[in-house]
Amino acid sequence: MNVSKKNSMTNETDTPYNHEFLGSEQNVYSFSTTDKIRYNVKFVPSTYVFDAYPELDIEVFEMIISVAANPTGGRIPSDSRVGPTIALIFNAFIQHEKQAIIFVCDSSDGRQKARSRKFTTWFQNRQTGTDMGEIDRLIIDGDRFIYLSLIPYRKHPQFKTVVDVFINLGEEDK
């Protein structure tokens, strides 16, 4: 995997943390940081996203990164090893071109834009070429700002339709 190649060329600050795959139908991965921040990364099957388009042959998963146990309290300290770890988990999970990932950042704590930017950076640093595309959307639902990213394989046979459907998501209601 290219991430390992990158690690051999850089210092330990970029080295991914060890992670464990816990399995279950939600495809759970766990890792912890040197600051004892515990992360849980899930890929939850989300077929409902494209249910209205049965002609689309696609397996969508919502990638959810949950964080807990911050012993220092307050904001989670910045850690340059978290991004490469999430990239490694992402690469371990994604196996074939009919899979696609949806990532959601909401405005519950006002940091949705920063979080969305961070995810984009992690995704771009996956270093596996341009095999997957990222399509970003900002959806406003009342006073809520929701950043959505869809990451499908560019080689998906219905790539253009998948992108079109995603771009119009939420617009039908307007």
Binding site: S32, I146, G170
Partner: protein, 54 residues
């Protein structure tokens, strides 16, 4: 006979994605508090990190 479920559309999908995400965070916090297997996984990962630093 069961009525087929109507596919979600538009904002219903977006709200469902948010709901699933929020539930996942709650489930994770709960599992850390109550599931010894999950606690053991993190303790093992943290021990490995501590051992590397020694």
């Amino acid at each position: 006979m069961e009525t087929p479920t109507k596919p979600l559309r538009g904002m219903e999908i977006v709200r469902k994605l948010l709901e699933v995400k929020e539930q996942a965070q709650r489930d994770f916090e709960e599992s850390l508090r109550t599931d010894p297997e999950v606690q053991a996984v993190y303790e093992r990962l943290e021990k490995k990190l501590d051992d590397k630093r020694d």
